[in-house]
């Protein structure tokens, strides 16, 4: 039972995940990772797991992004 909304979400998710793995710029990778967490949160909500969706949105898209950006600003931006 898959409708158009779920299809678009899953397709975007796959594209974003592959770009996170492939991209060289680490700051862009972190931002794409936040996008991945946001789409994943919407998918959790569509799968009727609002509890996991709230945690994913707060922890994945919020705190993880801030911590990874802090780590990048301490080290280097480009992958060696």
């Amino acid at each position: 039972m898959i409708n158009l909304f779920h299809f678009v979400l899953i397709l975007t998710l796959i594209v974003v995940v592959i770009s996170v793995a492939k991209i060289k710029d680490l700051l862009s990778a972190v931002i794409l990772f936040a996008v991945y967490n946001l789409i994943m949160s919407l998918l959790w909500q569509q799968m009727r797991a609002p509890d996991v969706a709230i945690t994913e949105a707060a922890l994945g898209a919020g705190v993880t992004t801030v911590l990874l950006v802090a780590a990048i600003s301490k080290t280097g931006r480009l992958e060696k």
Binding site: D51, I54, T55, A58, V66, A70, S73
Partner: protein
């Protein structure tokens, strides 16, 4: 670097009470609605991280210093364990509900025994963990 953007600081000042209130709502209504100690604590901690990113670490240090956050972090776990062990007084297993906490009517806020108290302990611990994590990762020269 002293970065002070007008839009960001005003939006932060406007949004921070609502972010904290939503986090407290998630923590306290754990037995009624989605959410819980972990998610609500994360939202409250993210609010403090937003404060420290916008106004600098000195503002956050005045509200919620690193020493306080580490003390509260240990205190949350201690409160959880003490509440769990206190069931031993009545000869019940670990984390059993005590008779002194009434069950209440289902659907109201004051129901479900001490689940809300346990989740307040978890939420306090998670929120201060996130603040301490951000501080120790180098929040002092990030803004």
């Amino acid at each position: 670097m002293k970065f002070r953007d007008t839009i960001v600081s005003i939006i932060t000042r406007f949004m921070l009470p609502f972010i904290t209130l939503f986090g407290l709502y998630l923590i306290v209504h754990v037995h009624l609605s989605p959410g819980g100690g972990f998610s609500g604590g994360t939202v409250v901690g993210a609010g403090f991280v937003l404060l420290s990113l916008t106004y600098g670490i000195s503002m956050q240090e005045r509200k919620f210093s690193h020493r306080t956050s580490t003390l509260i972090e240990s205190g949350g776990a201690l409160i959880y364990i003490i509440l769990g062990i206190s069931a031993f007084i009545y000869g019940q297993p670990f984390l059993s509900n005590l008779p002194i906490f009434p069950a209440g009517t289902p659907g109201r806020l004051f129901s479900g025994g001490f689940i809300a108290l346990l989740n307040i302990a978890i939420g306090v611990k998670v929120a201060s963990t996130i603040v301490a994590l951000f501080d120790s990762l180098g929040g002092e020269d990030l803004h």
